[in-house]
Assembly symmetry: C2
Homo-oligomer: 489 residues x 2
Amino acid sequence: MDELRERLAEIADLDRVSMLLAWDQEVCMPPAGGEARGEMRATVGRLAHERFTDEHVGELLAAAAPRDPLEADIVRVARRDYDKAVRVPGELVAEMARAGVAARGAWMQAREANDFAPFAPYLEHNIELRRRYSACFPEAEHPYDPLLDDYEPGMSTAEVRDALLHLREGLVPLVASAPEIDDALLRVGPFPEAGQRALLGVVLRAIGVDEEQWRIDEATHPFEATIAKTDMRLTTRYDEADMDSLYSSLHEFGHGLYEHQVDPALERTPLDGGASSAWHESQSRLWENMVGRSGGFWRWCLPHAQAALPERFGAVTWQEVQRAANAVRPSYIRVSADEVTYGLHIALRFELELALIEGDLAVADLPAAWNERMQSYLGLDVPDDVHGVLQDIHWAEGAFGYFPTYAVGNVIAGQVWARVTAELPDLDDRFAAGEFAPLREWLAENVHRFGRRHLTTEMLERVVGGGLDPAPYLAYLEAKIDASAQLMS
Amino acid sequence: MDELRERLAEIADLDRVSMLLAWDQEVCMPPAGGEARGEMRATVGRLAHERFTDEHVGELLAAAAPRDPLEADIVRVARRDYDKAVRVPGELVAEMARAGVAARGAWMQAREANDFAPFAPYLEHNIELRRRYSACFPEAEHPYDPLLDDYEPGMSTAEVRDALLHLREGLVPLVASAPEIDDALLRVGPFPEAGQRALLGVVLRAIGVDEEQWRIDEATHPFEATIAKTDMRLTTRYDEADMDSLYSSLHEFGHGLYEHQVDPALERTPLDGGASSAWHESQSRLWENMVGRSGGFWRWCLPHAQAALPERFGAVTWQEVQRAANAVRPSYIRVSADEVTYGLHIALRFELELALIEGDLAVADLPAAWNERMQSYLGLDVPDDVHGVLQDIHWAEGAFGYFPTYAVGNVIAGQVWARVTAELPDLDDRFAAGEFAPLREWLAENVHRFGRRHLTTEMLERVVGGGLDPAPYLAYLEAKIDASAQLMS
């Protein structure tokens, strides 16, 4: 058991090193350093994989005698990871990686040309490889299950399909009923960068970022990197045309706080980190949306926004800002979609990638299927592929099974939020007083501390006492739309 | 051969990763991240060591069939490194590391208390372990040889002893004859930080730092980190009380340029990097002293210094600055010593550590022996241990064999400089015109490109056609002192 733990700690260290190599590449590395960095990352990734899938680890797992519940969980989770990892031939893993790199290049060229057709054969190859990947798990009920399982351990395609269908059916009428709101307050700049920085400093300190354990940098595509629980790194991007630096920082903080508050006893074990992609996303969306677009948040934040950006916020009320922060407006691009339409962008992608994997949709028919759904769900006519099927990198990289986790994350955030607000009914007033510790502590106790000890659905059972259910999330959105409509009337 | 090269490339990658972990720890890491970082660094270091000292590497080396001169050098140098590494039991390596950590803590406490005595048993243990280390190489002629060889491959204790004796005998009268110079121009601030930054930007760009491949940051103790030839990182420290940021940056640039200009074909092989510690130091000192304290450099630099720091340099001549930059003044502390007295600080340390390893000096007698030599070489009465025997961390960390490389580096810099200036007689005028490329290119062609292909003395033979010889360095210093004396009369 000690030898097993030592080996798993070594692999955890290598994973942290990989994370730092990636962080540094985005934040610090001189532009010419990319090629050497690729070699460093490949070497560390390959070593971590080799050291984990080594036969000796299988023997250690078979012989392991856990001495307490923590060690029992370590063995169980490590065995699950190990069994998955050794089932896939190294040759297939390498071919998926190579095909992903080639498809990524083809995708970028296709975007340049605004033409899906030359990308199609690369996408077909990626799909073919994912089918072969799925075939490594013949016991799976559905060929999409093993793909989904990489992001949502233990969750079935059927569960996700039901939930996302329910979500979609709820969202379409909500979007149609949402009042038109002028959100220029947060969307039409200039918002001077110095003011954004000053405001962000105040907000992050208030919600729980301290300089002893966190740092904040700039990156083209904001992300969060946990190097260690005591070495947390957020990145953001300042664009004077909007206030996205605030919302993307709240989002990345949500990811970071989750990992920061995992039980320290799990550090350097396979139990460290978030339970799943959707659980992770639930935490980032909870801070970005449930907190950052709440009335309480803006009652507290507005004076700070006025001090930092007086020319933009000097003459407005918190109600006006909150309304702007909750504007609903159908648009083509997922990453800039509002909270309500976002779920429809995801439902569309999930339905399409499921059909691609099932073989019910040919790649050649994908753009038309995309555009048809955009019209049906959001009432929009897609003008070209760059504003449609070519907008995301996920399929080019072969990341099938990832898209649904965004929507499942929102659904889980809704379920968690319903329970938080039931248990802490004065939360909005606490936010208004700049007090975010009660929420942080509730999340630590009820969600974060468990790390990867439980599967996605086990966590749901534990936190909200049931399965995946879009109803609370839809109710939360509906209440906000009603409130906006009332404020306007 | 291909498998060997692949394994060696993997180890080279891990070494680059270790360097990045160290750089990040000094430059970026939040203060609380230290403990986790220690684990990450230990894991990567252990893996690199294990993967290199693996029996399989021994077999690959034995079976290797080099296909060209480059591969012949790779095999030869890797075999030398391998034979050294496998001769030392892992247990002894671990004990040296543990003893170093303990001694470092004791050293810090002893400094706080300004009392050598409580540090003595830790130092004794370090020395005892180094003797055991030496005993792993019974063929060595002198017990100090294996220690020195870790920094100066192939160089003997006898060679270094002769050279440093010659150097000391030359320096003592030089120091005594040096005129007293007012160096307030570079030593009495304030030099506003913004001005220092601006000047440094101009100087580094001129000597060869571009933003595509280099970055510059701040660190408490300036250092250089090569992550890759295309990812070079310098650090410096701004103190408004002096202009050390300029000289320490020239120094670190010298280290960086050496690694930057190694033949790209050697990347990811054991031949990458500098030939030895002394060769490395020769390059850093060459840029810091031979370039940075030259008349040509200040003829070019003064207008830039005047623009960046008008209140300090507005009303002076380049001759005055150059004279201040070459002031000689005996002092207690090595790291702030001038170029001329520096060698005596090193001679003293080398003589003492040699006697400690030989067993001719007891640790209890070390402070007295130190103080006696300070009086004899520099004419100074050491007031207390913090200004004497406790000032450096090297012995606490067990780094015996390192000190002489500083002086050997200066001696080599003198030999290289004599050849450079013979071959490029207009170098000083080129500096005055802001042209540093001729020097860079000469160094690339004659020194840098070889990397670790040759041992310390083989490199000397190749570059200056002879052995280690302090005469050119002493002549260079004497000429500068004469020039200063003439300027004053």
